[in-house]
Protein backbone atom coordinates (compact mmCIF):
# COMPACT_ATOMS: atom_id res chain seq x y z
CA UNK A 1 0.00 0.00 0.00
CA UNK A 2 1.73 3.21 -1.06
CA UNK A 3 1.67 5.50 1.96
CA UNK A 4 1.30 8.65 -0.16
CA UNK A 5 -2.09 7.78 -1.65
CA UNK A 6 -3.95 6.33 1.33
CA UNK A 7 -2.64 6.73 4.90
CA UNK A 8 -2.22 3.31 6.53
CA UNK A 9 -4.99 3.81 9.10
CA UNK A 10 -7.60 4.26 6.39
CA UNK A 11 -6.94 1.05 4.51
CA UNK A 12 -9.06 -1.13 6.88
CA UNK A 13 -11.98 1.28 6.38
CA UNK A 14 -11.83 0.78 2.62
CA UNK A 15 -11.59 -2.96 3.17
CA UNK A 16 -14.62 -2.86 5.48
CA UNK A 17 -16.53 -0.82 2.88
CA UNK A 18 -15.78 -3.40 0.19
CA UNK A 19 -16.83 -6.29 2.47
CA UNK A 20 -20.08 -4.56 3.51
CA UNK A 21 -20.95 -3.69 -0.10
CA UNK A 22 -20.13 -7.24 -1.19
CA UNK A 23 -22.38 -8.64 1.56
CA UNK A 24 -25.26 -6.42 0.47
CA UNK A 25 -25.03 -7.29 -3.22
CA UNK A 26 -24.48 -11.02 -2.65
CA UNK A 27 -27.41 -11.28 -0.24
CA UNK A 28 -29.73 -9.56 -2.69
CA UNK A 29 -28.46 -11.75 -5.54
CA UNK A 30 -28.80 -14.93 -3.50
CA UNK A 31 -32.30 -13.89 -2.46
CA UNK A 32 -33.27 -13.31 -6.09
CA UNK A 33 -32.45 -16.96 -6.84
CA UNK A 34 -34.74 -18.47 -4.21
CA UNK A 35 -37.58 -16.01 -3.70
CA UNK A 36 -40.83 -16.08 -5.71
CA UNK A 37 -41.60 -13.38 -8.28
CA UNK A 38 -45.28 -13.12 -9.22
CA UNK A 39 -46.12 -9.47 -9.89
CA UNK A 40 -49.66 -8.26 -10.60
CA UNK A 41 -51.09 -4.80 -11.23
CA UNK A 42 -52.65 -4.52 -7.78
CA UNK A 43 -49.55 -5.77 -6.03
CA UNK A 44 -47.32 -3.23 -7.78
CA UNK A 45 -49.54 -0.22 -7.13
CA UNK A 46 -48.35 2.13 -4.36
CA UNK A 47 -49.79 1.37 -0.94
CA UNK A 48 -52.56 3.74 0.06
CA UNK A 49 -54.46 1.76 2.67
CA UNK A 50 -56.46 -0.17 0.10
CA UNK A 51 -57.75 2.81 -1.90
CA UNK A 52 -56.78 3.13 -5.55
CA UNK A 53 -53.84 5.59 -5.63
CA UNK A 54 -54.70 9.09 -6.82
CA UNK A 55 -52.58 11.99 -8.08
CA UNK A 56 -48.81 11.98 -8.47
CA UNK A 57 -47.05 11.09 -5.25
CA UNK A 58 -44.13 13.41 -5.88
CA UNK A 59 -46.07 16.60 -5.27
CA UNK A 60 -44.84 19.83 -3.73
CA UNK A 61 -43.59 19.60 -0.16
CA UNK A 62 -43.78 21.89 2.82
CA UNK A 63 -41.27 24.77 2.51
CA UNK A 64 -40.13 24.36 6.14
CA UNK A 65 -38.10 21.28 5.20
CA UNK A 66 -35.87 23.38 2.95
CA UNK A 67 -35.49 25.97 5.67
CA UNK A 68 -34.36 23.30 8.13
CA UNK A 69 -31.82 22.05 5.59
CA UNK A 70 -30.37 25.54 5.09
CA UNK A 71 -30.15 26.18 8.84
CA UNK A 72 -28.52 22.77 9.26
CA UNK A 73 -25.74 23.61 6.80
CA UNK A 74 -25.04 26.84 8.71
CA UNK A 75 -24.87 25.28 12.14
CA UNK A 76 -23.07 22.16 11.00
CA UNK A 77 -20.30 24.37 9.64
CA UNK A 78 -20.12 25.99 13.04
CA UNK A 79 -19.78 22.57 14.67
CA UNK A 80 -17.02 21.65 12.22
CA UNK A 81 -15.11 24.79 13.25
CA UNK A 82 -15.60 23.91 16.91
CA UNK A 83 -13.94 20.48 16.58
CA UNK A 84 -10.33 21.49 15.81
CA UNK A 85 -10.69 24.29 18.36
CA UNK A 86 -11.80 21.78 21.03
CA UNK A 87 -8.87 19.48 20.26
CA UNK A 88 -6.22 22.18 20.80
CA UNK A 89 -8.15 23.99 23.55
CA UNK A 90 -5.81 22.91 26.37
CA UNK A 91 -2.96 24.63 24.50
CA UNK A 92 -4.63 27.95 23.66
CA UNK A 93 -6.62 28.45 26.90
CA UNK A 94 -8.42 31.71 27.70
CA UNK A 95 -7.26 33.42 24.50
CA UNK A 96 -8.86 30.67 22.42
CA UNK A 97 -12.03 30.86 24.47
CA UNK A 98 -12.46 34.60 23.81
CA UNK A 99 -11.75 34.12 20.10
CA UNK A 100 -14.33 31.34 19.85
CA UNK A 101 -16.84 33.43 21.83
CA UNK A 102 -16.57 36.19 19.22
CA UNK A 103 -17.22 33.64 16.47
CA UNK A 104 -20.20 32.12 18.29
CA UNK A 105 -21.72 35.52 19.12
CA UNK A 106 -21.80 36.35 15.39
CA UNK A 107 -23.59 33.05 14.77
CA UNK A 108 -25.94 33.63 17.68
CA UNK A 109 -27.06 36.89 16.05
CA UNK A 110 -28.12 34.85 13.04
CA UNK A 111 -29.72 32.27 15.31
CA UNK A 112 -31.69 34.97 17.16
CA UNK A 113 -32.78 36.42 13.81
CA UNK A 114 -33.99 33.01 12.61
CA UNK A 115 -35.79 32.47 15.93
CA UNK A 116 -37.41 35.93 15.81
CA UNK A 117 -38.50 35.48 12.18
CA UNK A 118 -40.17 32.22 13.15
CA UNK A 119 -37.89 29.97 11.08
CA UNK A 120 -37.68 27.55 14.00
CA UNK A 121 -41.46 27.31 14.43
CA UNK A 122 -43.40 24.51 12.80
CA UNK A 123 -47.02 25.56 12.24
Amino acid sequence: MPETIIPAGYFPIILFFVIALFFGLVTLFFGSLIRPNRPSVEKLSPYECGNPPFMDSRSRVFIRYYLVAVLFVLFDLEAVFLYPWAVVYHKIGMYGLVEMLLFIVILLVGYAYAWRKGALEWD
Partner: protein
Protein backbone atom coordinates in the same frame (compact mmCIF):
# COMPACT_ATOMS: atom_id res chain seq x y z
CA UNK B 1 0.41 -27.20 9.71
CA UNK B 2 -0.81 -25.57 12.92
CA UNK B 3 2.11 -23.11 12.70
CA UNK B 4 0.97 -22.14 9.21
CA UNK B 5 -2.59 -21.61 10.39
CA UNK B 6 -1.30 -19.52 13.29
CA UNK B 7 0.81 -17.43 10.90
CA UNK B 8 -2.22 -16.94 8.68
CA UNK B 9 -4.31 -15.79 11.63
CA UNK B 10 -1.56 -13.41 12.72
CA UNK B 11 -1.28 -11.98 9.21
CA UNK B 12 -5.04 -11.48 8.93
CA UNK B 13 -5.15 -9.90 12.38
CA UNK B 14 -2.30 -7.51 11.56
CA UNK B 15 -4.13 -6.37 8.43
CA UNK B 16 -7.42 -5.94 10.32
CA UNK B 17 -9.23 -8.50 8.15
CA UNK B 18 -10.07 -10.70 11.10
CA UNK B 19 -11.33 -7.79 13.20
CA UNK B 20 -13.54 -6.60 10.33
CA UNK B 21 -15.07 -10.04 9.87
CA UNK B 22 -15.68 -10.44 13.61
CA UNK B 23 -17.26 -6.98 13.98
CA UNK B 24 -19.37 -7.44 10.86
CA UNK B 25 -20.61 -10.89 11.89
CA UNK B 26 -21.32 -9.78 15.47
CA UNK B 27 -23.31 -6.76 14.28
CA UNK B 28 -25.37 -8.95 11.96
CA UNK B 29 -26.01 -11.51 14.69
CA UNK B 30 -26.88 -8.75 17.13
CA UNK B 31 -29.94 -7.78 15.04
CA UNK B 32 -32.09 -10.92 15.56
CA UNK B 33 -31.06 -11.03 19.22
CA UNK B 34 -31.89 -7.35 19.71
CA UNK B 35 -35.30 -7.68 18.06
CA UNK B 36 -36.07 -10.62 20.33
CA UNK B 37 -34.85 -8.71 23.41
CA UNK B 38 -36.87 -5.68 22.37
CA UNK B 39 -40.12 -7.59 21.98
CA UNK B 40 -39.46 -9.51 25.18
CA UNK B 41 -38.59 -6.44 27.30
CA UNK B 42 -41.50 -4.37 25.97
CA UNK B 43 -43.76 -7.38 26.44
CA UNK B 44 -42.82 -7.82 30.07
CA UNK B 45 -43.06 -4.07 30.73
CA UNK B 46 -46.64 -4.23 29.44
CA UNK B 47 -47.36 -7.41 31.46
CA UNK B 48 -47.37 -9.62 28.39
CA UNK B 49 -45.10 -12.56 27.61
CA UNK B 50 -43.80 -11.42 24.22
CA UNK B 51 -42.73 -14.04 21.64
CA UNK B 52 -42.95 -17.58 23.11
CA UNK B 53 -43.41 -19.97 20.15
CA UNK B 54 -40.13 -20.25 18.21
CA UNK B 55 -37.56 -21.98 20.40
CA UNK B 56 -37.40 -21.77 24.22
CA UNK B 57 -39.03 -18.47 25.27
CA UNK B 58 -39.11 -17.46 21.61
CA UNK B 59 -35.35 -16.95 21.40
CA UNK B 60 -35.18 -18.09 17.77
CA UNK B 61 -37.89 -15.61 16.70
CA UNK B 62 -35.38 -13.21 15.11
CA UNK B 63 -33.77 -15.96 13.05
CA UNK B 64 -37.17 -17.17 11.86
CA UNK B 65 -38.02 -13.60 10.83
CA UNK B 66 -34.72 -13.34 8.96
CA UNK B 67 -35.29 -16.54 7.00
CA UNK B 68 -38.84 -15.45 6.22
CA UNK B 69 -37.63 -12.10 4.87
CA UNK B 70 -35.01 -13.82 2.69
CA UNK B 71 -37.72 -15.96 1.07
CA UNK B 72 -40.23 -13.13 0.52
CA UNK B 73 -40.96 -11.62 -2.86
CA UNK B 74 -39.22 -8.29 -3.57
CA UNK B 75 -41.83 -5.89 -4.86
CA UNK B 76 -40.80 -2.85 -6.90
CA UNK B 77 -43.90 -0.64 -7.12
CA UNK B 78 -44.97 0.63 -10.53
CA UNK B 79 -43.81 4.18 -11.11
CA UNK B 80 -40.84 3.71 -8.79
CA UNK B 81 -37.40 4.85 -9.89
CA UNK B 82 -36.03 1.34 -10.05
CA UNK B 83 -32.28 2.00 -9.87
CA UNK B 84 -32.54 4.31 -6.87
CA UNK B 85 -35.12 2.03 -5.26
CA UNK B 86 -32.67 -0.88 -5.39
CA UNK B 87 -29.68 1.22 -4.35
CA UNK B 88 -31.26 2.88 -1.30
CA UNK B 89 -31.24 -0.11 1.13
CA UNK B 90 -27.55 -0.73 0.43
CA UNK B 91 -26.81 2.96 0.88
CA UNK B 92 -28.50 2.70 4.25
CA UNK B 93 -26.79 -0.52 5.35
CA UNK B 94 -23.18 0.11 4.34
CA UNK B 95 -22.60 3.38 6.29
CA UNK B 96 -24.24 1.91 9.39
CA UNK B 97 -21.75 -0.97 9.21
CA UNK B 98 -18.50 0.75 8.29
CA UNK B 99 -18.92 3.39 10.99
CA UNK B 100 -17.88 0.64 13.43
CA UNK B 101 -14.34 0.60 12.02
CA UNK B 102 -13.09 3.22 14.50
CA UNK B 103 -14.92 2.08 17.66
CA UNK B 104 -12.40 0.68 20.20
CA UNK B 105 -13.97 -2.32 21.95
CA UNK B 106 -10.86 -2.98 24.05
CA UNK B 107 -7.27 -1.74 24.12
CA UNK B 108 -6.31 -4.62 21.81
CA UNK B 109 -9.49 -4.85 19.77
CA UNK B 110 -10.29 -2.09 17.27
CA UNK B 111 -10.23 -2.21 13.49
CA UNK B 112 -8.30 1.01 13.03
CA UNK B 113 -7.34 4.08 15.05
CA UNK B 114 -7.37 7.24 12.95
CA UNK B 115 -6.78 10.72 14.35
CA UNK B 116 -10.17 12.09 13.17
CA UNK B 117 -12.27 9.12 14.37
CA UNK B 118 -15.12 11.19 15.87
CA UNK B 119 -15.49 13.30 12.72
CA UNK B 120 -15.40 10.10 10.67
CA UNK B 121 -18.31 8.55 12.59
CA UNK B 122 -20.39 11.74 12.31
CA UNK B 123 -19.66 12.03 8.60
CA UNK B 124 -20.37 8.40 7.78
CA UNK B 125 -23.59 8.26 9.79
CA UNK B 126 -24.80 11.34 7.89
CA UNK B 127 -24.45 9.41 4.64
CA UNK B 128 -27.14 7.02 5.93
CA UNK B 129 -29.65 9.87 5.61
CA UNK B 130 -29.24 9.63 1.83
CA UNK B 131 -30.50 6.04 1.97
CA UNK B 132 -33.63 7.19 3.79
CA UNK B 133 -34.44 10.14 1.54
CA UNK B 134 -33.70 8.22 -1.68
CA UNK B 135 -35.89 5.33 -0.51
CA UNK B 136 -38.77 7.71 0.20
CA UNK B 137 -38.37 9.60 -3.05
CA UNK B 138 -37.97 6.61 -5.35
CA UNK B 139 -40.92 4.63 -3.94
CA UNK B 140 -43.56 6.80 -5.67
CA UNK B 141 -45.72 6.57 -2.55
CA UNK B 142 -47.14 9.41 -0.49
CA UNK B 143 -46.49 7.75 2.85
CA UNK B 144 -42.91 6.96 1.92
CA UNK B 145 -42.18 10.50 0.75
CA UNK B 146 -43.68 12.09 3.87
CA UNK B 147 -41.81 9.65 6.11
CA UNK B 148 -38.52 10.29 4.35
CA UNK B 149 -38.88 14.08 4.57
CA UNK B 150 -39.75 13.94 8.25
CA UNK B 151 -36.93 11.54 8.93
CA UNK B 152 -34.33 13.59 7.07
CA UNK B 153 -35.38 16.86 8.76
CA UNK B 154 -35.34 15.17 12.16
CA UNK B 155 -31.99 13.47 11.68
CA UNK B 156 -30.19 16.60 10.51
CA UNK B 157 -31.73 18.72 13.29
CA UNK B 158 -30.60 16.35 16.01
CA UNK B 159 -27.25 15.76 14.39
CA UNK B 160 -26.39 19.34 15.34
CA UNK B 161 -27.23 18.60 18.96
CA UNK B 162 -25.12 15.42 18.84
CA UNK B 163 -22.20 17.22 17.23
CA UNK B 164 -22.27 20.08 19.75
CA UNK B 165 -22.72 17.80 22.78
CA UNK B 166 -19.55 15.90 21.83
CA UNK B 167 -17.41 19.07 21.86
CA UNK B 168 -17.25 19.04 25.69
CA UNK B 169 -15.57 15.60 25.98
CA UNK B 170 -13.27 16.54 23.10
CA UNK B 171 -12.10 19.65 24.95
CA UNK B 172 -11.32 17.51 27.98
CA UNK B 173 -9.57 14.76 26.02
CA UNK B 174 -7.75 17.02 23.54
CA UNK B 175 -7.94 14.47 20.73
CA UNK B 176 -10.38 13.16 18.13
CA UNK B 177 -8.99 9.62 18.24
CA UNK B 178 -11.42 7.21 19.93
CA UNK B 179 -8.58 5.26 21.54
CA UNK B 180 -7.10 8.51 22.84
CA UNK B 181 -10.45 9.63 24.27
CA UNK B 182 -10.91 6.30 26.05
CA UNK B 183 -7.39 6.46 27.49
CA UNK B 184 -8.06 9.99 28.76
CA UNK B 185 -10.88 8.51 30.87
CA UNK B 186 -8.75 5.86 32.59
CA UNK B 187 -9.36 7.45 36.01
CA UNK B 188 -12.34 9.76 35.65
CA UNK B 189 -15.09 9.19 33.13
CA UNK B 190 -16.40 12.27 31.34
CA UNK B 191 -19.90 11.39 32.55
CA UNK B 192 -19.87 13.55 35.70
CA UNK B 193 -18.16 16.71 34.36
CA UNK B 194 -20.12 16.41 31.11
CA UNK B 195 -23.46 15.33 32.59
CA UNK B 196 -25.30 18.04 30.61
CA UNK B 197 -23.55 16.94 27.43
CA UNK B 198 -24.49 13.33 28.13
CA UNK B 199 -28.13 14.28 28.67
CA UNK B 200 -28.20 16.16 25.34
CA UNK B 201 -26.47 13.28 23.60
CA UNK B 202 -28.88 10.74 25.05
CA UNK B 203 -31.99 12.63 23.92
CA UNK B 204 -30.47 13.35 20.51
CA UNK B 205 -29.39 9.75 19.98
CA UNK B 206 -33.00 8.57 20.39
CA UNK B 207 -34.05 11.09 17.75
CA UNK B 208 -31.08 10.36 15.49
CA UNK B 209 -32.02 6.69 15.24
CA UNK B 210 -35.73 7.52 14.78
CA UNK B 211 -36.64 5.68 17.96
CA UNK B 212 -39.51 6.27 20.32
CA UNK B 213 -40.50 8.90 21.56
CA UNK B 214 -39.14 10.48 18.36
CA UNK B 215 -40.33 7.76 15.97
CA UNK B 216 -42.44 10.14 13.86
CA UNK B 217 -40.91 9.04 10.54
CA UNK B 218 -42.47 5.63 11.05
CA UNK B 219 -45.45 6.68 13.14
CA UNK B 220 -47.51 3.60 12.34
CA UNK B 221 -50.82 5.20 13.24
CA UNK B 222 -50.48 7.92 10.60
CA UNK B 223 -47.72 7.03 8.15
CA UNK B 224 -48.08 3.21 8.15
CA UNK B 225 -44.32 2.53 8.11
CA UNK B 226 -42.69 5.72 6.86
CA UNK B 227 -39.98 5.74 4.24
CA UNK B 228 -39.78 1.94 3.80
CA UNK B 229 -43.51 1.29 3.37
CA UNK B 230 -43.02 0.00 -0.20
CA UNK B 231 -40.08 -2.25 0.62
CA UNK B 232 -40.41 -5.97 1.17
CA UNK B 233 -38.20 -9.00 1.63
CA UNK B 234 -34.46 -8.63 1.92
CA UNK B 235 -34.44 -4.93 1.00
CA UNK B 236 -36.70 -4.20 3.95
CA UNK B 237 -34.40 -6.35 6.09
CA UNK B 238 -31.47 -4.11 5.12
CA UNK B 239 -33.26 -1.03 6.47
CA UNK B 240 -34.07 -3.01 9.59
CA UNK B 241 -30.45 -4.11 10.08
CA UNK B 242 -29.27 -0.54 9.46
CA UNK B 243 -31.64 0.80 12.13
CA UNK B 244 -30.44 -1.65 14.76
CA UNK B 245 -26.78 -1.25 13.76
CA UNK B 246 -27.24 2.50 14.18
CA UNK B 247 -28.69 1.94 17.65
CA UNK B 248 -25.63 -0.07 18.62
CA UNK B 249 -23.38 2.53 17.01
CA UNK B 250 -24.77 5.55 18.89
CA UNK B 251 -24.66 3.53 22.13
CA UNK B 252 -21.01 2.66 21.44
CA UNK B 253 -20.27 6.33 20.78
CA UNK B 254 -21.89 7.32 24.08
CA UNK B 255 -19.85 4.63 25.82
CA UNK B 256 -16.57 5.89 24.37
CA UNK B 257 -17.28 9.61 24.79
CA UNK B 258 -18.93 9.66 28.22
CA UNK B 259 -18.81 6.27 29.93
CA UNK B 260 -15.09 5.56 29.69
CA UNK B 261 -15.14 2.96 26.90
CA UNK B 262 -13.39 -0.21 28.03
CA UNK B 263 -12.34 1.30 31.41
CA UNK B 264 -13.92 -0.17 34.56
CA UNK B 265 -15.74 2.27 36.90
CA UNK B 266 -14.41 3.99 40.07
CA UNK B 267 -10.72 3.87 39.08
CA UNK B 268 -9.91 6.95 41.20
CA UNK B 269 -10.05 4.67 44.26
CA UNK B 270 -7.05 2.39 44.73
CA UNK B 271 -9.30 -0.43 46.02
CA UNK B 272 -11.32 -0.60 42.82
CA UNK B 273 -8.26 -1.41 40.64
CA UNK B 274 -9.23 -5.04 41.20
CA UNK B 275 -11.96 -4.44 38.59
CA UNK B 276 -9.24 -4.26 35.92
CA UNK B 277 -8.98 -8.04 36.19
CA UNK B 278 -12.22 -8.20 34.20
CA UNK B 279 -11.41 -7.83 30.47
CA UNK B 280 -12.23 -4.39 29.06
CA UNK B 281 -14.45 -5.82 26.37
CA UNK B 282 -16.95 -6.93 29.05
CA UNK B 283 -17.09 -3.42 30.48
CA UNK B 284 -17.57 -2.00 27.01
CA UNK B 285 -20.41 -4.30 26.04
CA UNK B 286 -21.97 -4.05 29.49
CA UNK B 287 -22.28 -0.29 29.03
CA UNK B 288 -23.57 -0.65 25.47
CA UNK B 289 -26.13 -3.22 26.63
CA UNK B 290 -27.31 -0.89 29.38
CA UNK B 291 -27.77 1.98 26.89
CA UNK B 292 -29.64 -0.33 24.51
CA UNK B 293 -31.90 -1.34 27.38
CA UNK B 294 -32.53 2.39 27.98
CA UNK B 295 -33.76 2.65 24.36
CA UNK B 296 -36.43 0.03 25.10
CA UNK B 297 -37.18 1.44 28.53
CA UNK B 298 -37.85 4.87 27.02
CA UNK B 299 -39.99 3.30 24.31
CA UNK B 300 -42.18 1.53 26.87
CA UNK B 301 -42.46 4.67 29.04
CA UNK B 302 -43.05 7.78 26.92
CA UNK B 303 -45.75 8.66 24.37
CA UNK B 304 -44.74 9.96 20.96
CA UNK B 305 -43.85 13.63 20.42
CA UNK B 306 -45.78 15.90 18.05
CA UNK B 307 -43.72 17.13 15.10
CA UNK B 308 -43.64 20.79 16.15
CA UNK B 309 -42.65 19.75 19.68
CA UNK B 310 -39.84 17.64 18.23
CA UNK B 311 -38.47 20.52 16.16
CA UNK B 312 -38.80 22.95 19.06
CA UNK B 313 -36.91 20.60 21.40
CA UNK B 314 -34.11 20.16 18.90
CA UNK B 315 -33.63 23.75 17.77
CA UNK B 316 -34.72 25.81 20.76
CA UNK B 317 -33.70 23.69 23.74
CA UNK B 318 -30.92 21.24 22.93
CA UNK B 319 -28.76 23.48 20.71
CA UNK B 320 -28.62 26.49 23.12
CA UNK B 321 -28.07 24.04 25.96
CA UNK B 322 -25.16 22.40 24.12
CA UNK B 323 -23.58 25.80 23.35
CA UNK B 324 -23.92 26.77 27.01
CA UNK B 325 -22.29 23.50 28.01
CA UNK B 326 -19.32 24.23 25.72
CA UNK B 327 -18.98 27.73 27.22
CA UNK B 328 -19.06 26.48 30.83
CA UNK B 329 -16.61 23.66 30.03
CA UNK B 330 -14.27 26.17 28.37
CA UNK B 331 -14.34 28.57 31.35
CA UNK B 332 -13.81 25.80 33.93
CA UNK B 333 -10.95 24.23 31.94
CA UNK B 334 -9.26 27.62 31.47
CA UNK B 335 -9.56 28.41 35.18
CA UNK B 336 -8.24 24.98 36.24
CA UNK B 337 -5.14 25.38 34.12
Amino acid sequence: MTAQVLDMVKFLWAHSVLQIVIVFACTLMMVPILTWVERKVIGHMQVRLGPMRVGPHGILQGIADGVKLLLKENIVPSGADKRIFVLAPILSLVPAMIAFSVIPFDHWFYITDINIAVLYVLAISSVGTYGIILAGWSSNSKYALLGALRSAAQVISYELAIGLSLVGPLMMAGTLSMVGITKAQAEHWFLLPQIVGFFIYFVAMLAETNRSPFDLPEAETELVAGFHVEYSGMRFAFFFIAEYANMVLVSSMATVMFLGGWNPPFQMFEVMHVLQKVPGIFWFFGKVAFLLFCFLWVRATFPRFRYDQLMRLGWKVLIPMALGNILVTGIVLALLK
